[in-house]
Symmetry: C2
Subunit: 377 residues, 2 copies
């Protein structure tokens, strides 16, 4: 076999993720056979527009006793069972052993209802409604991120019973913390390292001080490829959604602005926000259309840890480049999921379907949500 | 709150994992209430001792057409749908872009049946039967790990439908690869770093060249604590099973020999192998007893990547210290699991139950398997 030419669609290989410094093992030879997944869509469960027992619906009372506002767009409240408590907290004790260190964490956990309707998701919202969600995210990032003692704001959405999220009401969360968590800290360190030790020969946008930005370079390369060669699922004037080269989840998506270097949500123009809402709408619709179900995923926004403080001058955290990760577990149908277990948990993530194959499947889907298509027919 | 004394059983904090260099967020204030989990055990499904449709039972024919031996102890065969192909493979092409690198991977995937009985698991096997499994692991490590082109042997077990493992027949796998995967590479790098940059003031065993070993130091500290203060679940003369300080999974276990520095399974004495089998038996029994079910988990063995080659002298990979990780998803009952999603997937793992609380719950359980206790009653 040593004389054969390497073929990424048939030879097992590893791909490197420069954001995390980790690898994924790809076994495309197991995908050579024609598509064999189950494709029967399950009957969609009809949800009510308003559920009197939902703790997120407008006007309802939550378990803690508080009443939700009769909101008509988005609605934000502090999580009644927050994973962290507001600062200031007690200082760390000296460790009992150098290998057993403790770092106190303070902060706040917020819940964001995306829309008053119980039965809709981002995939079914109008672009203008998604723009309202983006404005709410921007507001929380600025409000929480400028509070004393807060060093990081993580905006995320966890969607679907398969992800342990039992309430279908469209909502996300924000955890604002006194420390930068493991994964964004790792990404930020790798972005800094990239900016410091690489020279760009492309005409991609540049990061702070004219240094190359890992994500500007990567997105620029992806959008420059002929569509059928690449991993782009959808792009508009400012934003692109693609299956990254190093994707771990079968239909993982990386979504980011590619026309200029944008460290955080705070720096988006109105036009860039609308383009983001459009990109979110297109990607989430294709997700739902893939297996004709409300597609489960975890989504997270990575950006500058917190906004630049008043009186601060631009610092090195501007190497951050605003982006979203979508990690969906579904593999072959509305009920067949990928498990990250065994070798993957103990050694290295692994996939059969290549990123290119996944991108093509998502790209080839309709832009019209399958439930809307049903009612139009 | 700044004047309060820090209390690890009530104040949110982060713990550092020196093996991976990552953190876990602990929210013990959410556990203050008395134990509220569901505790009704499900009816155990009675499995047959032999299942004519099981592709792992003795004498049965597998999907690929091959017939299993009529084995009476353990049985090993090459996985019919291996994630990698045997060496040599083609060389890597130059990357299309520096951010999109490809590394070919070669190797073999083996399946190990632990026992001919379809209805037993490690928790129900006799210690002498587990010793046979350990010998089989040692044999595969030596056989695969000395093959040309193999640089790493990962032994693991993935158990339970909840982990995507549909066949209850007791079995594990071994993937032997041309590269060291992400997680063991990271652990090995941190072990080397620890040996190089620390001085030991304890009387823990020492690693190569008399340098301190991260895991010798850690295990030595844990076994020296008074039982009620610590995280030890079970220990015998040579091995200990404990919930590590930095555990991510609710009932995660780290199992390792603590009396001397042991880089790999190859270097265990007969007595140490028996002690390991005893420790495996005790821990897996307690797992099953916790929620009175066949406890699902992924287990992985980390050690020297491959045996020392003939003619090689001891090299720096002897800083590795043989250990096992158990990652079980169950949280509060036989059906309530932890999901690693949302913030945990996008930022940092999080847990409510502390490692100390988990260790105490496991420690307080009976040593007699609940199914055997039932038949004895
Ligand atoms: Zn950039
Ligand atoms: Zn050691």
């Amino acid at each position: 076999m040593a004389d054969l030419e390497f073929d990424p669609t048939s030879h097992p290989h590893r791909r490197y993720n420069p954001l995390t410094g980790e690898h994924v093992l790809v076994s495309p030879h197991r995908m050579k056979r024609p598509w064999q997944g189950q494709t029967e869509p399950p009957q969609p469960t009809a949800l009510p527009r308003y559920d009197p027992k939902c703790y997120l619906c407008p006007g309802n009372t939550r378990a803690g006793g508080e009443q939700n506002a009769a909101y008509t767009q988005t609605f934000v409240f502090q999580n009644d069972y927050a994973a962290v408590l507001p600062p200031p907290g007690p200082a760390a004790p000296p460790p009992a052993h150098p290998l057993l260190t403790t770092q106190p964490v303070e902060g706040s956990c917020d819940v964001i209802c995306f829309h008053p309707r119980h039965d809709l998701t981002l995939a079914q919202l109008e672009v203008k409604d998604i723009e309202v969600v983006i404005s709410e995210w921007a507001g929380i990032y600025e409000r929480r991120g400028t509070q004393e003692g807060i060093e990081y704001v993580q905006i995320f959405e966890n969607k679907g019973a398969m992800m342990g999220c039992s309430n279908p009401h469209p909502h996300g969360q924000t955890w604002s913390l006194s420390q930068i968590p493991t994964l964004p800290a790792k990404e930020l360190a790798n972005m800094k390292q990239y900016a410091a030790s690489n020279e760009s020969t492309s005409d991609a946008p540049k990061g702070p001080s004219g240094r190359p930005c890992l994500l500007c370079e990567y997105a620029h390369y992806e959008v420059s490829l002929a569509q059928e060669e690449g991993r782009v699922v959808y792009k508009n004037e400012h934003w692109v959604g693609l299956v990254p080269w190093w994707a771990v989840w079968p239909f993982e998506i990386l979504m980011l602005p590619y026309k200029r270097h944008i460290p955080s949500i705070q720096e988006l123009t109105a036009e860039e926000k609308t383009a983001w809402a459009d990109c979110l709408s297109h990607i989430t619709k294709r997700y739902d259309n893939l297996f004709q179900c409300s597609f489960a995923y975890s989504m997270g926004i990575h950006q500058r840890p917190v906004p630049l403080r008043a009186g601060q001058s631009a610092d090195e955290e501007n190497v951050a480049h605003l982006h979203l990760h979508f990690a969906p577990p579904l593999l072959r149908s509305a009920s067949i999921r990928k498990f990250l277990v065994g070798f993957e948990l103990m050694a290295e993530p692994q996939r059969d379907l290549t990123a290119e194959q996944a991108a093509k499947r998502l790209r080839d889907l309709s832009d019209v949500h399958y439930l809307a298509a049903g009612t139009q027919a």
